[in-house]
Subunit: 350 residues, 4 copies
């Protein structure tokens, strides 16, 4: 059924557990003749990497991508691009105490029930480590559609939210702070909130906004592959995501048609953009923008009551190396998944 | 690329335009030996049908389903179930004035740009008439998983919202009013609001909440077919949907891990259900619940400025037969799409 | 799993049993803007129709195709083309005697074991009646790739074989006799052989050769969708087919590289065409040619020993209306399947 | 479109060029809890490896498989199994003289026309080196269906053919000679023929027969995934294969229904097995047997006239390390592809 494959024409198939030998993937469908910059891929991986700042997990992994095929003398050949990231910092012993324990709000319990047998080290396949594969593939996808600009940023952490429309933000500032918020004043408040919660041994959720510019008209399919449905599925595939909305999103529920309709300019663009760049499932050339909601990380630096396989009550100790708020590190993941969807639909439409 | 097929093991492939000869579909993957009640299918179609009440479009269509294959002497044979609904009330002349006109926030403009040629009658393939096919297939899917209970209802219209948790609602009351809201007091306010807006020639958005009970543990796949991602894509495929969230949804952004984590009862169920019945993409046996946000209908009973193919400004007159608020009629569509996803994942897991 | 769908970009999904209400299908992926000639579709259906001549089954069915969607004012819209052929000559009573009987070398036994429940009338879904759907879809596919010429013909019936290379044949003569053999002398011998065997109440196998001209260079994929592998699968999907070979086929087993290699002309064409127009899975612009082997029809006009569901020995009486040799009627089916594959790969390559 | 993925429920996705860093793949869909013997995988790889005997290419590659994921403490976890084989004997300089040259009956010409850019070293992705990936995956697949016995062997080389039915052969002898022919007398003749042709700098074709025992009843789908059609596609995907037949194959063309029909024994087995273990596309529990025809290798140790990119006539020198007859080394590849198909259909049917 291909539950480890994403996309239709540009297809990413992945493998790997958090603490196995390596993770990696095969990206199929990249056209021949594209000059592929491996350094750009590595740079995106570095943005996702743990241990970037004191706000994120201190687990240190170089996360170095190795491209194994599909590229010859610097150019893509149209053949599948195999790649791999070795797991250098496996430290499996960290997890041995969790062998028979179900951590609250993790996948431990359902994996055991579904598969009967699991790699319990660091969550195995359910670990967000898998998203490193997506970042590699997304960085390749962006080189397939260089004209399309994808900018994601942290728009909310807990009760701290950017109170400006995205048009008022300077995306070149996103990387200038640890939370990846382009508004510096808000960023400071977010950092302070995360630091406070970290000291309490707790975690916090947040939101990411993503803005996509220069999308050609016509991407998306009328019925079951509406562009926003594909973006929604992509975002909901990211670990810890609970919600997705595009354009006016949930706010549209309290709007009238007369205020929500986007009237045309004579050139076919629209005066407003309530639609979020997609109408009837198909891009109309306006900016696509959407928001993604993340729950707080389930691993706490506190003791939590839980149960083991046998149904006994146990206490899960807070140890290991974990993020207080995953949202800043998820920004490149959101961009990568958006790039995979857009490149896929661009190739389908070409 | 199969843009008209939905599902993996239980696959719905559909055809049909709003004003063509017929719409219909093929549902592939239904196991053999299920006693199929055609009357139940028809009943669901009747719930979706236009012209049910003064609140919805007065377009009259009997929408009678004809099952063409896959059922023999009342039982499914495991072969594909072909079905058809004839378009009896085509009245194509209603739409001739729209031949070269792009209606604001409809798919007219993007279809023309993407395909170069379109069936402009009633939106053609982009019409929500397609959802009648989904309701048929969903009603069959429900008979594949009779033990799973799916209840959707209108939870918000404009600024009117049910202010109770779903556990306090009696779903048997959902059909007792025109807006399909199980809380009678709220239903009255919703009806009044819709009637007011209808008189103004305007439209209004809303939200649907869906609750799924008795889901077995283990439905969903770890990476790219997380159960909630599949539900999200299904809901975002419904016309006019702008947003999807499950469990705590966007509210999780402002929650701490210590309050969001669902601690276990000794039997493996959880004390709270912030997760919304899905952990790591896999059902954990608790209730699945999610919300879907709808924008207001784009067709108004008012004049709107717009443009034609040649780029000239034109006025789109408010005429035809349209809903003021699609949310009540979308309730069976949400249930149908949820049923298709759950039956598909149930068959995959079996 | 989509076991009733064929193709990747041009996708045919079908339904229907031999003696149900109707058979039909959905052809997805046809580009917009093609002028579609329904009469050409009907003409192909007529070529496959039972009862054309005294050599074939006397079952009379008008087999009239109804196109239900995807075509507007004579042109394709890019939307799925739904179509249907009603079963007008159902005569289910003909088959009631077979309800619990397994006919030798039919699918009765395996269907019962696999599904536990089956539509036993005329073989149900396993009937070659399904190929009428393929002929409809193939006739549409040919209008997608009008420049590609596809000519199939009966090359062998029993021990009667055309002893000329295909280059020496005049394909315009194929329809001029009942066996669809372009060589008139051989055709007469085939007809005589079939008539002889018919009188004996027996059946006979045969072979079809198919020649495809004007195929652009570059159709086919290097690894798992080699063009000849797709053609092979398509042909092996046709009822009664036991064998497929292309180019030199099995004869290549006794050839040397020095005689099998196709040397180039300066324009990139090749002097010989042992490769059969496909190298490394990809068309090279030369004629594609292949042969398909058919077993004799399993339904005889003789009594045969067999068994029933309970394991009792029974005698299957020779009755009903059946072909002595299916090969002549399979000629348009081979062409249709070739057209579906070629149009699919042409769309993928475009 | 997934042209590098094979299978539906058990899916193999591969990457890699003949002279790149590595080849490898991801096998998705292996159930959890299977004890996986890596040594068995390596043993199959060794059977396919170049340089096994003086009859095959002297290119030396250890071809060591590395399993990267999906296996934990010796057991499968249900997660995708990533694997890799490094290319240790790359010697790219061997091929630099072929940079702009099109070798006769290779994929060079069509790759350049299709992709515009190619990895010309050793055929790149079109090299039969890819089949090493299939052998790895097939060896895993066999451990999913241990009860099913798959035995392939060389049945024909040039004009030397085993003249016994497969039932008279002792498959345990297949590995006892260099040509993998279980009949020792025939094997000697095959070896002599290959040696003779090798000395002439030429190559020769051949056939492989494959026999599958202990197949459960019910594998295969009625219409577009008939078991034999899937086997045919799998075999036709193997480099140099030109033909496929199962059961009576092409011989059925000259048989009568009365001699071809397989009459039942009281237990549901059949007295004869003309059907080759598959009826109506579905396994009936009898032995499945089929034959695969291979053309002679296109790379000769002789000079051949050819052309370069610019259309100039060039001479391709016979150099490098190549097989005189690929058939013996293709035996494990045929078994691997059969195993992949059977395990896939077994998982679908389960």
């Amino acid at each position: 059924m291909s539950h480890n494959t994403f996309g239709k024409k540009l297809r990413l198939t992945t493998f790997g557990e958090s603490h196995g030998v390596a993770i990696g993937g095969i990206l199929d469908g990249v056209p021949a003749g594209i000059e592929l910059d491996i350094k750009v891929i590595q740079k995106e991986l570095d943005r996702r990497r743990p241990g970037q700042s004191k706000l994120s997990t201190q687990r240190k992994e170089p996360d170095e991508v190795e491209v194994l095929s599909g590229v010859f003398e610097g150019k893509t050949t149209g053949m599948p691009i195999g790649f791999m990231i070795k797991n250098t910092d496996q430290k499996s012993k960290d997890y041995s105490h969790l062998k028979d324990v179900y951590r609250p709000s993790h996948a431990d319990f359902v994996y055991d029930k579904k598969y009967g047998y699991r790699d319990y080290r660091g969550g195995g396949r359910s670990s967000a480590r898998e998203t490193a594969n997506w970042v590699v593939a997304g960085a390749i996808a962006r080189q397939v559609i260089p004209e399309i600009e994808i900018n994601a940023f942290t728009s909310t952490v807990g009760d701290v939210t950017i109170d400006k429309p995205y048009q008022a933000l300077d995306f070149s500032k996103t990387e200038s702070n640890q939370v990846r918020c382009p508004d510096q004043g808000t960023a400071k408040k977010m950092e302070a909130l995360i630091e406070k919660i970290r000291k309490e041994g707790d975690t916090i959720g947040g939101k990411i906004t993503c803005v996509v510019k220069n999308v050609p008209i016509g991407l998306g399919e009328p019925v079951f592959d509406k562009l926003h449905a594909a973006l929604g599925k992509a975002m909901l595939s990211i670990n810890a995501v609970k919600a997705f909305e595009y354009g006016t999103g949930f706010c549209a529920a309290d709007m009238r048609g007369s205020e929500h309709n986007d009237l045309f300019n004579p050139d076919g663009s629209t005066i407003t953009n309530m639609s979020g760049g997609i109408q009837g499932g198909i891009s109309n050339g306006m900016d696509i923008y959407f928001r993604v909601g993340f729950k707080p990380v389930a691993t706490l630096m506190q003791d939590q009551k839980s149960m083991d396989k046998a149904g006994n009550e146990v206490v899960v100790k807070g140890k290991g190396r974990h993020d207080t708020c995953v949202v800043p590190r998820a920004v490149p993941v959101v961009e990568a998944m958006a790039a995979l969807v857009l490149a896929d639909f661009w190739l389908m439409q070409k």
